[in-house]
Symmetry: C2
């Protein structure tokens, strides 16, 4: 069975939406990626760092979802990374209220010996140098997927470009793709980003779905139209976790199979936004995911009577 190695934050979030607000709850890119990918019953491990203020029950939650946490360093006397944000009424935009890097500031990721041969590597959103360090510790992975955001384009562009040049797939949102490429057209943006290294470019458009590009091929997965988005936090990470989780489970990294992987990513992300934080992902059952896959088919599949 394929092994999936995930690097990213394991953190505290405090979230405000038009529907309510939370205290410090479980968050972090690696948390969402791990919970999402765990749906595929693969052998996965998280590399991250937390402080000794991080509750054991959260670590147990990861373990109980078959996520190896040997690579999650617990810093004695340290405090866990904390992010706080408030979403606007349309839930498409948000303000960051507080960011406390804490133990993340000096994070030196250590990949557990037993995951250096991971065939699938997910570089979740983090400082590009941390992502690079993880890449240097793994042997010859079959597929490396990078997620990043505009913060690193603004602050560490050269380091980011180094990582981008070494990965197979990059997932970023539409505005970030435009910023990174200098192109407004997403078709042109994807082509320019491919020239920077990745063979595949995934552009996330939030409620407008996601595009997968490889050379002149393109695939589109819609977001499921929902009555209400409750909390978008972690949707992008959950999408990425579903994407790489499906690829790791099937072991097939063809463009055709990536189409399904994108659909599974959208499928899992559509659950993530239904409740605060990771709540919905914690009680998600396989039949629920299967049923929603059917909804995605109905939403997108058609047969014409002409031609």
């Amino acid at each position: 069975m394929s092994k999936l190695l995930i690097v990213g934050t394991v953190a505290f979030d405090a979230i405000e939406t038009p529907f309510g607000k939370t205290d410090k709850i479980l968050g972090g890119a690696a948390t969402y990626i791990g919970l999402s990918a765990s749906h595929f019953n693969i052998d996965s491990a998280v590399v991250s760092v937390v402080g000794d203020d991080f509750p054991t029950k959260y670590l147990d939650l990861l373990k109980n979802n078959n996520i190896n946490i040997e690579g999650v360093e617990i810093v004695e006397g340290g405090k866990t990374f904390f992010w706080s944000g408030r979403y606007h009424n349309d839930l498409n935009t948000r303000d960051t209220l507080d960011t406390q890097l804490n133990v993340l500031a000096d994070f030196n990721p250590v990949v557990p010996e037993s995951y250096k041969d991971a065939q699938f590597v997910m570089l979740g959103n983090l400082h590009p140098l941390v992502q690079l360090s993880v890449l240097e510790q793994v042997n010859d992975p079959k597929l490396v997927v990078l997620d990043t955001m505009n913060f690193w384009m603004d602050n560490s562009l050269e380091d980011l470009k180094k990582v981008i040049s070494k990965v197979d797939v990059i997932t970023i949102n539409d505005e970030e793709a435009r910023q990174l490429s200098g192109e407004h057209s997403l078709v042109k943006a994807a082509r320019k980003i491919e020239e920077m290294g990745p063979k595949y470019v995934v552009i996330k458009k939030g409620e407008h779905g996601a595009l997968l590009f490889q050379e002149d091929q393109v695939f589109f997965a819609p977001a499921l139209p929902l009555e209400e988005v409750f909390d978008p936090t972690g949707a992008g990470d959950t999408f990425a976790g579903g994407f790489i989780g499906y690829l790791a489970r099937t072991g097939d990294i063809s463009f055709e199979n990536m189409k399904s992987a994108i659909i599974y990513g959208s499928n899992l992300a559509s659950f993530c936004v239904e409740k605060f934080g990771t709540e919905r992902m914690q009680d998600l059952s396989a039949p629920q995911v299967d049923e929603r896959l059917l909804a995605f088919k109905k939403l997108t599949q058609f047969e014409t009577q002409l031609h």
Copy 2:
């Protein structure tokens, strides 16, 4: 064979985009709808009005595309409706520079005797009272599709609601759906609009595609990702023309067949935006449309290895 009756403007447009500008060129909702629907070789007719400044070559263009123009009134001494607009750099928004109603101000539509039994009726964007008048002149159509815009919501809401209560399908854009329903969620907006009369609600999202709703069923058609959108003028009308044209051609108004109709609408609209005005629609060949249908299939169709 089914007959399609179209009411809407036949007009002059002057367009500015980041790529250039035009003099007065052929425009108008009925023009775009007619040219798009003509791809399906159906028996169609346009009801509209122009002044005697309207070039014969434009009327010939419609005739040469097998569009009956008996119902296009030519007002002696009158001037044709004129619209002028400038698109912003992202091509998603535009400013109206000039609107001259001219002969449209006193338009009394007359449906030709031979099209009163039309099975398919397309009410293109126009004053709701004109749309109502056309509806009153037709016998028992199989399907009536309404296109409208926020201008009528702002200025003639009660008249608009009367038309909405009498049609089978309404096509409007996302912001208009939100305005009309008072709901931000498009799922909720569609449900509220269905309660106003239409059995089917089509929400157009421009470059983000289109959604088709009927009760708890939903279908999504993406816009084709293009390297460059040259001129978006008429894309929504071309979409509507492709939608109803496909339905008229196949004679099947089931939800399943509407899925294909939406795809054909998106297909034809993707050509419309490639050149200024109606230029691309004039030289569009059937094989080109067929080839792009294949592109839409590649863009959206998938098969999973799990489940």
